[in-house]
């Protein structure tokens, strides 16, 4: 123990376990607020979080834990993916046999493949729902514009990672989905043919394409995504935590000073709290003291004085919530992986495409549009949609409605977004259930 000066070998030996423990974990389990703060602060994994977190950010019905679910699925995908790499060979002659081996000879092989496949589908869905949540609550408004852009890029990378993984089993589904998908890329103006050739390493899908997709899938994309996820998380902290409705005592900097500050609706609750507008008018003495964190952070502010504190300690409130989300995610994934096997079709036969040849479900909306016009459906409209999403926070800058679902102030933006979302989901449903051989309209019942 640290306060003992004795250096007898026996004492050293008996104190060894405790000394090792304390060298790794610098704080005992916290029993005081100081302990809770320093536990969060001094632990490598916990220090990503703020010491205290606003009550609003902990409401399950606000975030639905969707960002966390996306991240946990990404983590599970990385772990299960590395395990699958021990058996997989990116070769046109071996890949499919290795899939069969996962089924037949590798312990837990089929289970890991199921987990990997369903987590991939789940991640696409979770990231999309997360995007919807952020839009509907207006959380892309300043100062969170750039984090929204990062999120859109991560959404696209998620789809691309899923797409590259799709080819690896080298079955009929894989081959034809990638043939169709890369042909769509070929329709892009100017660089389309070049991009397609770089992706495939050849003029058709073959060994070169399999190797390239493998490298993208297991190395390039996970590394790029990990980096962007780290920046995405970091920006949440630097942009002032999760979005929430503004409060009367919020610090308002010159840059984000609102034109009108609503008067306090309940004077009793805001005794001693002055609006930022009055502070601008020079009424500084009655102001509660406010401290910026290191003077570097724009939004969040440490308040002192007679200011209502609406935050809770991250330990245990936030960490318990995160643990619950993690456990629910893992439990759900395990259940699905026990009961449903990842599809594996016949080995590649380059002469006979399956009829109909369908892309993965999240690309079926794209494939449905492509059946009307290859350029507009596959390149034109998707590019416009992505550009709109990337530019959105720089176009829609009017403050108001942040942190609330379906806020009246955001009626137009939300209506437009919901229309686009329903259109895309509708196209996916048509492509999935209503298209039969030769892509002709069929009734699913």
């Amino acid at each position: 123990m640290s306060n003992q000066t004795s250096t007898s070998p026996w004492k050293t030996l008996t104190a060894l376990p405790e000394n090792i423990w304390h060298s790794v974990f610098r704080n005992p389990l916290p029993i005081s607020d100081l302990g809770r703060a320093s536990t969060t602060f001094t632990n490598f994994f916990l220090h990503l979080h703020p010491v205290k977190v606003h009550r609003h950010s902990l409401r399950a019905t606000y975030t639905w834990g969707l960002g966390l679910i996306s991240f946990f699925l990404f983590f599970i995908l990385a772990v299960s993916g590395v395990l699958l790499m021990f058996y997989y060979v990116p070769s046109t002659t071996q890949a499919y046999d290795r899939m069969l081996d996962l089924r037949g000879t590798v312990a837990f092989g089929i289970f890991l493949r199921n987990m990997h496949r369903w987590a991939a589908h789940g991640m696409v869905a979770a990231v999309f729902l997360h995007l919807c949540r952020v839009f509907l609550t207006g959380a892309y408004k300043p100062p969170r514009e750039f984090n929204w852009v990062l999120g859109v890029i991560l959404f696209l990378l998620t789809m691309f990672a899923s797409f590259t993984g799709y080819l690896l089993p080298w079955d009929q589904l894989a081959f034809w989905a990638i043939t169709v998908g890369t042909s769509i890329a070929g329709y892009a103006p100017v660089f389309g043919k070049e991009v397609r050739f770089l992706l495939l390493g050849d003029s058709t899908v073959g060994q070169e394409a399999l190797l390239r997709f493998y490298v993208l899938h297991v190395a390039v994309l996970p590394i790029v995504m990990s980096l962007l996820v780290a920046i995405h998380f970091w920006r949440i902290r630097k942009d002032g935590g999760l979005s929430r409705p503004p409060e009367e005592d919020d610090f308002v900097s010159d840059a984000t000073l609102r034109t009108s500050v609503e008067p306090a609706s309940t004077p009793a609750a805001t005794v001693g709290v002055q609006s930022a507008a009055r502070a601008e008018a020079g009424d500084a003495d009655s102001q509660p003291r406010r401290y910026g964190i290191q003077g570097l952070v724009k939004g969040p502010i440490t308040k002192a004085g007679n200011v209502p504190d609406r935050s809770l300690f991250s330990w245990p409130n936030l960490f318990m919530a995160e643990l619950v989300v993690f456990l629910v995610t893992v439990a759900g994934l395990l259940l699905v992986s026990v009961f449903f096997n990842a599809p594996l079709e016949e080995p590649v036969n380059i002469m006979h495409p399956p009829n109909p040849a369908k892309a993965p479900w999240y690309f079926l909306g794209l494939q449905e549009m492509v059946s009307y016009s290859a350029f507009w459906g596959g390149v034109g409209i998707p590019t416009l949609e992505v550009l709109l999403m990337l530019l959105l926070p720089y176009v829609d800058r009017k403050p108001g409605g942040e942190g609330k679902y379906f806020s009246r102030e955001r009626l137009l933006a939300n209506s437009l977004f919901i229309t686009f979302a329903i259109l895309n989901i509708g196209l996916i449903i048509i492509g999935t259930f209503f298209r039969g051989p030769n892509w002709e309209f069929v009734s699913p019942w």
Binding site: W176, T179, V180, T182, S183, I184, F197, L198, G201, D202, S203, T204, G206, Q207, E208, R212, I350, M351, H352, P353, P354, N355, P356, A357, Q367, V370, S371, Y372, S373, A374, F375, G378, P437, N438, W439, E440
Partner: protein, 159 residues
């Protein structure tokens, strides 16, 4: 970069330090751009390992008049009408699926494009007709297809 706050609205004088900073900036950016380009040059293959685009398909006698024989591995269909022969691509011009022969010509299973006997589009999203490839007779008497050489529809090769 740290800069002194410019209290007066005057253009700062062009110092030696500034010129050097600009030059170094250009040098660094230029190197970065060259690096990106050389990496793209690296991953763009100079040699591909797939099938050759120019290949022999046997003697004309192997294709009796009236035959429509699909060489599936080569992704072409050999058509012979009397003394006229043609090699029509069976790769759908829409998104690269393999079209199959149907009663009226060719049909694509992926997005429902349909073509007539000559490969002209009769329905579906295909933007253009199926390409016809150059046929020629090699000195050894065998027919040769050159998939790098596209010719006009209806431009038959006389045997």
């Amino acid at each position: 970069m740290l800069k002194k706050p410019n209290t007066e609205e005057q253009p700062e004088p062009l110092t030696r330090r500034k010129v050097l900073a600009w030059l170094s900036g250009f040098g660094l950016c230029g190197s970065a751009i060259i690096t990106v380009f050389s990496n793209f040059t690296f991953i763009k293959p100079r040699v591909t390992y797939g099938q050759p685009n120019r290949f022999s398909i046997g003697r004309p006698e192997d294709y009796p008049p009236g035959a429509r024989i699909a060489l599936e591995a080569k992704r072409i269909c050999i058509v012979r009408e009397g003394e006229k022969m043609a090699a029509i691509s069976t790769t759908c011009t829409h998104l690269g699926c393999i079209v199959s022969s149907s009663e009226t010509g060719f049909a694509c299973p992926c997005h429902g494009s349909r073509y007539d006997q000559d490969g002209n589009v009769t329905g579906g999203p295909a933007p253009k007709h199926l390409p016809w490839y150059q046929l020629s007779l090699a000195p050894n008497g065998e027919l040769e297809v050159d998939k790098d050489n596209e010719i006009e529809v209806g431009n038959y090769f006389k045997v």
